[in-house]
């Protein structure tokens, strides 16, 4: 039709008119063809079981446009091709109280998740958690919060096990220290093998120790938790055996070099044995401080 209307015009004029029209309509066309997003989630009951046939309504806060669907047998719903913006999401199911999520943002070309946890329908006059003055923040749990606790627990279990395993090479290192020293008056070469073994087992100890420590250091922290009880002593002792476990091999290396050169162990290197012993004692005490826990 446009071609017919412009039919009498020359090609260049016709082209210019088309370009102007396109320029004028471009923002509108782009807006119409703009990206959309997805709003999806899972509906569960108080026990965490999926709830099927829940009516889910998503209302766009700006346009008021409403989309409705029901959850499948797995409790999952998904609205595709939603214009980006803020949505109010409502969940309704027989036998459950209505749940409303006031605002969730659907990003352009992105995905928003709005999970619903339904509580049993309240009978008239029946006291509810709301009546008790608990805030939604206090009563609404989240899978993410539980996952953080699970991860923390899992990492600390590994920390404990590796920590206990580390005791064996640590004790062996302390026992082998005698062989590394050699006997008084004997040439340094006589105790070379002992030193090699002591250093090797010590290296294994330090490696295991640092791996075990990293699981505690990088375990997720739970906000709002104050450290109380024997774990405080456990952490305080770590301030001794932690630096000790780094310092001992360094001093050991210095002592090893001096001894291998036929020199008497002197200077800061002479503290290797004492630092190692203190580290071992602090480490043992740290384990005992928490071992009688579950």
């Amino acid at each position: 039709m446009l071609r017919k209307a412009l039919g009498g015009w020359s090609g260049s004029v016709r082209g210019a008119v088309m370009a102007c029209l396109f320029a004028a309509l471009a923002p509108f066309l782009i807006a119409q063809a703009g990206g959309t997003g997805v709003l999806a989630g899972k509906v569960t009951d108080a026990s965490g079981a999926a709830v099927a046939s829940v009516k889910v309504t998503a209302v766009n806060a700006d346009s008021g446009r409403t989309r409705t669907m029901t959850t499948g047998a797995d409790g999952v719903y998904s609205f595709g091709a939603l214009p980006p913006g803020n949505y109010r999401v409502k969940f309704e199911a027989t036998g459950f109280g209505t749940l409303e999520i006031p605002s969730t943002t659907v990003p352009e070309f992105g995905r928003a998740t709005a999970d619903g946890k339904l509580e049993p329908e309240q009978k008239p006059g029946e006291p509810s958690l709301k009546d008790l003055g608990f805030t939604p923040d206090q009563t609404a749990g989240s899978a993410a919060a539980q996952a953080r606790l699970d991860k923390r627990s899992h990492m600390l279990k590994i920390h404990q096990r590796l920590g206990l395993i580390t005791v064996a090479p640590l004790v062996a290192t302390l026992v082998l220290a005698n062989g590394a020293k050699g006997t008084k008056g004997a040439p340094a070469s006589a105790s070379a093998t002992g030193r090699e073994i002591h250093a090797a087992v010590g290296g294994v100890t330090a490696g295991l120790y640092l791996t075990a420590a990293s699981f505690a250091v990088f375990a997720p922290k739970i906000p709002g938790t104050k450290t109380r009880g024997s774990i405080r002593l456990h952490k305080a002792l770590a301030l001794i055996h932690g630096p000790g476990m780094i310092l001992t091999p360094i001093l050991g290396e210095l002592a090893y070099r001096q001894k291998s050169n036929g020199q008497k162990v002197s200077g800061i290197a002479s503290a290797h044995g004492a630092v190692g012993a203190i580290t071992g004692i602090a480490y043992g005490a740290a384990i005992l401080s928490v071992v009688f826990k579950f």
Partner: protein
């Protein structure tokens, strides 16, 4: 005078005949659980329980709730571990619902049917005995709920590969006040 008396009687009689609603609020309270292991025992205590009771037509409905993380055993590591094994991140509240006839509220020993929601599970306990003492307007209720970890599908935590006992009795000390 007589007319006033009749009017007052007519106003108050229905309430007397059909049972007026009464409401109760939970005052200072203590909930504590006991976990036993061959090597040691630990007690977690919460003073953060809130509750409300509504009596209507001779039947009372009480609701008591406490945040799971409010239980304190004086050891943050153990408390966080308990919070994890009881799935307290996902289900942060423990709630107890009690239904009983209003007439039972005056007995020295009250036998209640309880419904407890905890760790995403619901457990029912029949005829749990509680002691009742009146202190002025307040009513003090004490007793022990014979809960177990299995009731809530909680895997018993273990120490040195020895799991804790399945029995986790919950001691209850509640003070109810008329609203």
């Amino acid at each position: 005078m007589n007319q006033r008396f009749v009017a007052a009687f007519l106003l108050l009689a229905p309430a007397a005949l059909f049972g007026a609603d009464s409401q109760w609020a939970l005052g200072p309270s203590t909930l504590s659980y006991l976990v036993s292991h061959p090597l040691h025992e630990s007690v977690g205590v919460s003073h953060e329980a809130r509750g409300k009771g509504v009596c209507h037509a001779g039947q009372c409905d009480f609701l008591i709730a406490a945040p799971v993380k409010s239980f304190d055993s004086k050891d943050s590591n153990r408390d966080l571990h308990m919070l994890q094994v009881t799935r307290g991140g996902q289900f942060p509240m423990v709630t107890v619902r009690v239904l009983l006839p209003e007439a039972d509220l005056t007995s020295a020993t009250i036998h209640c049917d309880l419904e407890i929601q905890f760790a995403g599970q619901t457990a029912h306990y029949k005829q749990v005995a509680f002691q009742r003492e009146a202190h002025g307007n307040d009513i003090r209720i004490t007793g022990t709920i014979p809960a177990t970890l299995a009731d809530f599908k909680i895997d018993p935590p273990s120490l040195l590969s020895i799991p804790v006992k399945n029995d986790v009795p919950i001691k209850v000390e509640l003070t109810w006040r008329p609203m």
